[in-house]
């Protein structure tokens, strides 16, 4: 029987497993995908420093470490229930049930869809699906595609599609609605793109991202924003166009697009159909928390971290004895931060297991500080309010469970 079961073999899960195994704990890692690495497997972008962040290499490095430490990484395993009996956590999977004193849930995130009429047609996929098909499976997702939704993830993956020689005809916004919310308002989109200025070098540098911080100037800029859009390494970003419908009989054949005003209102009679054989919907990410929910973990609504998330301390510990969380399940951030959080969770498990009395407190505190450090220098910020969100969760924890984190059940 293992001491620790890690659910999710992404950056957070693998880092957590490695931290535990380095202190001699017996660890099993479970993941549904057929290869470990999680969202790392699709990541490939150029950092401000000019070198490339290659997620696949990163995943291979972590995987090698798990081999060196004899960590049992099992892929193709789906966890369907997590329940505690008197002492041990019971993890129920499609490959049988297993028990352990400690469980680290690192199931990451899922993508927000933005429904568009016709979006159930084959050929319509989330932008993450196109990323995985391109970088992991090395299969072209189509000849000519259109991306609906302009956000950081969309730009990062756009570059990856272009690198793979896949033509992305244009990026347009979704139609403004209670579902798409800010994603359908050109001004809001432009404001959110400011934190990705370095990622879309050609376009926004010409606008001068500092210059655009002022709301009024943004409005003026949008009024003069060319209908044909500004090119991002060849693909026009059309902030004044919205996708009304995805057309096609048996699969995607095109997208009906209309002009929109700076605040997202559609201009009647301005619709055109642009040909495409695939469509990517980029709605952003939200934490995938279902396993901690069935385990009975208390939740808290923190909008900056992605909504309802499991309550946890800076040591990545939840109020349930032996249950830990790390990575995008605690709030949407980049892969490096997920790894740093995984290490904190691993060291916190080592501390709770009483394995390494001496140096563990110092190492644990260092790893917590490291998370903050990585966050400061993160090239991508998925949500501008993430620091505030982390602070809210920390204060909630201290107020409810005290600094050390007394555990309730």
């Amino acid at each position: 029987m293992s001491d620790v079961i890690v659910i999710g073999a992404g950056p957070a899960g693998l880092a957590g497993a490695i931290a535990c195994a380095e202190f001699g704990l017996k660890v099993t890692v479970l993941d549904e995908f057929f290869r470990p690495g999680g969202r790392l497997l699709g990541q490939l972008y150029e950092e401000p420093s000019g070198n490339w962040w290659n997620g696949i290499k990163e995943a291979e490095r972590l995987q090698q470490k798990t081999k060196d430490l004899a960590i049992d990484v099992r892929c193709g395993v789906s966890v369907f229930n997590l329940e505690k009996d008197e002492l041990l956590w019971n993890v129920h999977t499609n490959a049988g049930s297993m028990k352990a004193s400690y469980v680290l849930v690192a199931t990451g995130s899922a993508e927000y869809p933005i429904p568009v009429p016709g979006w159930t047609l084959p050929g319509v996929m989330s932008i993450g699906a196109a990323q995985v098909m391109t970088n992991v499976h090395r299969v072209q997702v189509g000849k000519k595609g259109i991306i609906i939704g302009a956000n950081i993830l969309a730009f990062a993956i756009l570059t990856e599609l272009q690198l793979a020689g896949i033509q992305v005809d244009r990026i347009v916004l979704p139609e403004k609605s209670p579902i798409s919310q800010e994603a359908g308002e050109p001004e809001e989109v432009l404001k959110s793109l400011l934190s990705a200025a370095h990622l879309a070098p050609s376009l926004l540098l010409r606008f001068g991202s500092v210059f655009m911080k002022n709301g009024l100037l943004r409005k003026i800029a949008l009024n003069f924003y060319p209908k044909g859009g500004m090119k991002i390494s060849g693909t026009p970003l059309q902030l004044r166009k919205a996708a009304m419908e995805i057309v096609g009989k048996k699969q995607v054949e095109g997208v009906r697009v209309v002009d929109i005003t700076p605040n997202g209102a559609t201009v009647p009679g301005s619709d055109k159909i642009y040909e495409a054989d695939f469509v990517c919907i980029a709605g952003g990410l939200y934490p995938l928390t279902e396993i901690t929910a069935v385990a009975g973990c208390p939740f808290q609504f923190v909008p900056e971290l992605g909504g309802h998330i499991p309550v946890h301390s800076e040591w990545m510990e939840t109020p349930l004895q032996g249950l830990f969380v790390a990575g995008n399940i605690t709030g949407i951030e980049g892969g490096k931060i997920a790894m740093a959080q995984g290490t904190v969770a691993g060291l916190a498990i080592v501390k709770r297991s009483g394995k390494e009395a001496g140096s563990i407190d110092r190492l644990l505190q260092k790893s917590v500080d490291y998370v903050r450090d990585v966050r400061q220098h993160a090239p991508i910020q998925f949500n501008p309010g993430v620091d505030e969100g982390r602070q809210t969760m920390k204060e909630l924890w201290v107020s409810k469970y005290g600094k050390e984190g007394k555990v309730i059940s």
């Binding site: 549904e32 789906s78 966890v79 369907f80 229930n81 329940e83 129920h92 499609n94 899922a110 927000y112 869809p113 429904p115 568009v116 009429p117 016709g118 979006w119 159930t120 209670p178 579902i179 919310q181 419908e245 939200y286 995938l288 928390t289 279902e290 396993i291 929910a293 069935v294 609504f301 909008p303 909504g307 309802h308």
Partner: protein
């Protein structure tokens, strides 16, 4: 439900209009909408549509996002066969 409708729940093919109708009939939670329309009862158990339903509910009722209690997650969080769940898969 014609093709021009906007499908919010892909698994059960439930449109945003059917969701608004459920709210007009008194649903105030994601579970209340699910029970009236089946949105969220499919194989993905709301992983795709639940947060979209929450946004429609907030807009229709003026409720603040933090006041909308999310749907309830229940095992199995991923589909599992009767054979595996019952431990009779292999014989």
């Amino acid at each position: 439900m014609n093709d021009k409708d906007l499908l919010v729940c892909r698994c059960e093919e439930i449109s945003d209009e059917e969701i608004r109708e459920a709210i007009r009939q008194g649903a105030r939670t994601i579970t209340g909408i699910k029970r009236r329309t089946r949105a969220g009862m499919g194989l993905c158990q709301g992983r795709t549509c639940q947060r979209l339903v929450a946004r429609i509910l907030a807009e229709e009722t003026g409720m603040k996002p933090e006041d909308i209690d999310p749907g309830t997650d229940r095992p199995p969080v991923k589909p599992v066969s009767f054979g595996v769940l019952g431990g009779v898969a292999n014989d």
